[in-house]
Amino acid sequence: MEELDVEPAITNIPAASDGKHLGFAWGPGDILAYETLYMAPGSGCSFIHEVRKDEDIYSPILRKLFNESHHIFVGLQTIREDLPSKNKKTQFVSISKNYRSVIRACMEELQQVAETLHPYMKTSVLVLQVSILLAIELIWNLCEVLFIDAAPAGPLLLHLLDWVRLHKGDVDEKAREVLQSESPAEHHDYWDVVVSYVLQGRFEEARQMLVKQATLQPAARNMYKLMDTLLSKMPFYNPGGTQTLTEFDVKWRHWHEEVDRCLQDNSFASNQHLEIICKILVGDEDTLLEHKELLSTWYHFLVTRLLFCHPTVKPTELHYYAQSCMTMFLDLRSVPEPLDSILLAAFEFDIHQVIKDCSIALNNWWFVAHLTDLLDHCKLLQSHNLHFGSNLREFLLLEYASGLFTHHSLWQLAVDYFDNCPEFGHVYLELQIERVPLDTERKALKVLRICEQRQMSEQVRSICKIMAMRALRNNRLGSALSWSIRAKDAAFATLISERFLQDYCARGTFSDLDLIDNLGPAMLLSDRLTFLVKYREFHKLYEENRFSEAAKLLLSLITAKIAPRSFWMTLLTDALPLLEQKEVSHNLFVFSSDKLIVKRLPFSLFTSLCSQN
């Protein structure tokens, strides 16, 4: 089948069109456009236009669709491989129905909003999106019937009938109108409703409507009784019953012959409407085609024709009927629409064509991504090896999830999708998660948690570094320090520790004491940081009058050689008041290093300092 070809849409930018160029810049969820001139002088209108995809207009409503389908998606990924296939099939069908109900819920909401809009907006994008969702649900439903449920001959027709009935709701609306009128049997739409019911195989309702007409025409009572009998006797296959398909077929043929006999006998000849219904029941193509308006689509025609000509149709036979029905129903001049091609491909069981056409036809990755994923789980997709070695399912999921990443809250959903793309999910996530704006510390921590859970160490480091840098620029040293510790960035930690120490020298006090006092083993990240922590500890000990411990610490700081050179004088100065403490000089006396000359402490302290040189 030829690939669908699409003309790209033109978006108008309020800018000059003659003799000017249009510059652009890619943003996270948009593209900026502006008037400019490349390599030529000129003046210009300096407006920058933010161009977005239409989805942004109704994204609050779509958000629910994205959220709920994400939930279904994640659940689907966890279905155990080892379950027997019968159980799996039931689960897959149930999941498919869940997806569809989510689509319908979204449609309803959009419709409600569309109705509250200004009446001039008849071609508003909202109405458009509702139509797109309708098409999506129609296609998905058919895929569920044919591929996932994979109904065999017998139930197949019943499912197709359900499918058609679900998507032809105007019958009920018309019926309501007719029934609510004063004399329903005389309503101008009455026969349309009856015929529509028949065309959809809704015989109970057809019979109830016919009763109303019968009471108005007592003279024709026998004719109406006959029709009622025919309608009531039409066999419908019962999947749960004991009847085999062959037995059903036999029964059906008998009934079919009976109807035909009525036609030949001219039993309904005097009532044009009943005659038409009889012809429909016998499956007369011409009569069916005369009711194109009521059928409105070729696929309705297809199902109706099958209902009255070949109710035991096999899945493999579908495409013959589909093709011929489409040809018969559509004008010779008209071109098959994308939707028609997609449905036809489905009836031909060409799953890849369905997905391919849907990708092209619908600017909506959500649909193809989730449907393909489900079909893949049903093991219905042969793995096509694409040029970069991935497969179709993954390609679509990556496209969809990448789109989600630009939303300020939906990006978190995207993570789960990437997680379930074994080939490229990880690298896509790496690339995109770095771009999530770190507006608040809370958000940064959220992003970090996601990265840490997936061992994305480079991204962790990068995010922490960005936060540390930001904090440092704003002179929030404590924050900068904790971020650089988290980033395991020794160099940066050193830098910030220096700042702390500089601060101390300038002001005589430390800031962020809580942080420094409780670093624990993190202080070992860099020498300078260790020094900072220990130096602060020294001060604490001093304040608490624990002079001998303070002195011991100070001494170890000196001998451990982690003090920055610029700090030696400070340390020396700090030592002086200690020497006045009797216990200190006593202890220093005892604990001094072998380089110290015991007797003259100030001098020895000086000596030991020099020996660091």
């Binding site: 003309e7 108008n12 800018a15 900026l32 977005r52 907006m121 036809a361 896509y428």
Partner: protein, 380 residues
């Protein structure tokens, strides 16, 4: 009860075929002359614009999506061609290049509290790079894993790579490499891949109109042993002036993708040939097999800019037809144009240009539907 009677008719689904885009917002940039470049920062929360009016402006996006100009200052003594952001790991840093033969590095200084309240910030010049003898046509930061490195290219045909060894001191930059490309250079692009499998690589485009010199795109690769950049490849099939060049973000592929803006849009695939590892490091740059992936001449004459979106799923190009075109590859690697932005001939004039989003939607959707229907009938 959801009304399902509206089964999509033919026309409606045709409308669905197109990616509908609309102008959400228009920002009055208030430059006194042509804007030459607009650049988003890494997170998409700030942007910088530069102009022939010799100034650069920095804009911040608020939570409700509105843009506010937080700085505006004169940067050069000639038209400013390009402006670009460093990775936020290095702080808030910008680089600009100009017709005045210089490139400059700017850093934002966190201002006084009353400045913050007024939503203003200050940018100070950290360095001016004056080595070029001609107009500096492009300025780009190298991928962050290489450190804080800045690259310029000039009309004098020289690519210069500078490094700031101490990222906390942006006034110190040293010229690490000076590469003579022999042809006037118009654009550079770094390969963003940070994989160890790919040594640092950049591409240079030349807009030299001299046709005797063959390929107008050169690829350079860093050699660990010689500690220098050596030419890995010249794209001989590109013989017309090249105005822009862009490596696509690498997404775990073993090959590179390069887009070129010349007399048409061209996309190349560069496949490193897997030779014996030992051999390749000593005998020079990796051999690259060059394949053309796509070529589009829809812009009619010259294409001036090409750029990939963040996920490299879309390529945009701007050309002489006054349009911006968006290109996309499907899963079979077939490229198609999926959207066009075009001036409608009625530029905004008021300084408070804020067209209501709704009316623009209707306008553009009607336009696009018209186009789609026209396109449908014309194409058949």
């Amino acid at each position: 009860m959801c009304r399902t009677d509206r089964v999509p008719t033919a026309g409606i689904l045709w409308l669905a075929l197109v990616v509908i885009m609309f102008v959400a917002r228009s920002i009055a940039a208030d430059h006194k002359d042509l804007i030459h470049d607009v650049s988003y920062d890494f997170h998409g929360r700030r942007m910088a614009t530069c102009s022939s009016d010799q100034s650069v402006k920095v804009w911040d996006r608020s939570e409700n999506g509105e843009w506010h100009c937080t700085a505006s200052w004169k940067t050069h003594s000639g038209s400013v061609w390009r402006v670009t952001w460093a990775h936020p790991e290095f702080g808030q840093v910008l680089a600009s290049c100009s017709f005045d033969r210089t490139a400059a590095v700017w850093e934002e200084i966190v201002g006084e509290s009353n400045d913050k309240q007024r939503g203003l910030s200050h940018w100070i010049k950290r360095t001016t790079l004056v080595d070029s003898r001609t107009s500096v046509t492009d300025v780009k930061f190298a991928p962050k894993h290489m450190g804080l490195m800045l690259t310029t290219c000039s009309a004098d045909g020289v690519v210069r790579i500078y490094e700031a060894p101490d990222v906390m001191n942006l006034s110190q930059w040293s010229l690490q490499h000076e590469i003579s490309c022999k042809l006037s250079c118009s654009c550079i692009s770094w390969n963003p891949s940070s994989s160890r499998a790919h040594p640092p690589m950049f591409a240079v485009g030349s807009d030299d109109s001299n046709v005797t010199y063959g390929g107008k795109v050169q690829i350079y690769e860093y050699n660990e042993n010689t500690r220098k950049y050596a030419k890995a490849e010249t794209l001989m099939t590109v013989t017309d002036a090249v105005h822009d060049i862009a490596f696509a973000p690498n997404l775990g592929r073993s090959f590179h993708v390069l887009a070129i803006a010349t007399k048409d849009v061209r996309i190349f695939k560069l496949v490193p040939m897997r030779s014996d590892r030992k051999e390749s490091t000593s005998t020079g740059p990796t051999k690259l097999e060059v394949q053309i992936v796509a070529q589009f001449d829809n812009h009619n004459s010259q294409v001036w800019r090409v750029s990939w979106n963040i996920t490299s799923t879309l390529l945009a190009s701007s050309g002489d037809d006054g349009c911006v075109r968006l290109w996309k590859a499907n899963y079979m690697d077939n490229w198609k144009c999926t959207g066009i932005l075009k001036g409608d001939g009625s530029p905004l004039t008021s300084s408070s240009g804020q067209p209501t989003a709704m009316s623009t939607i209707v306008g553009s959707s009607v336009q696009t539907s018209q186009n789609a229907l026209n396109g449908m009938s014309a194409g058949r």
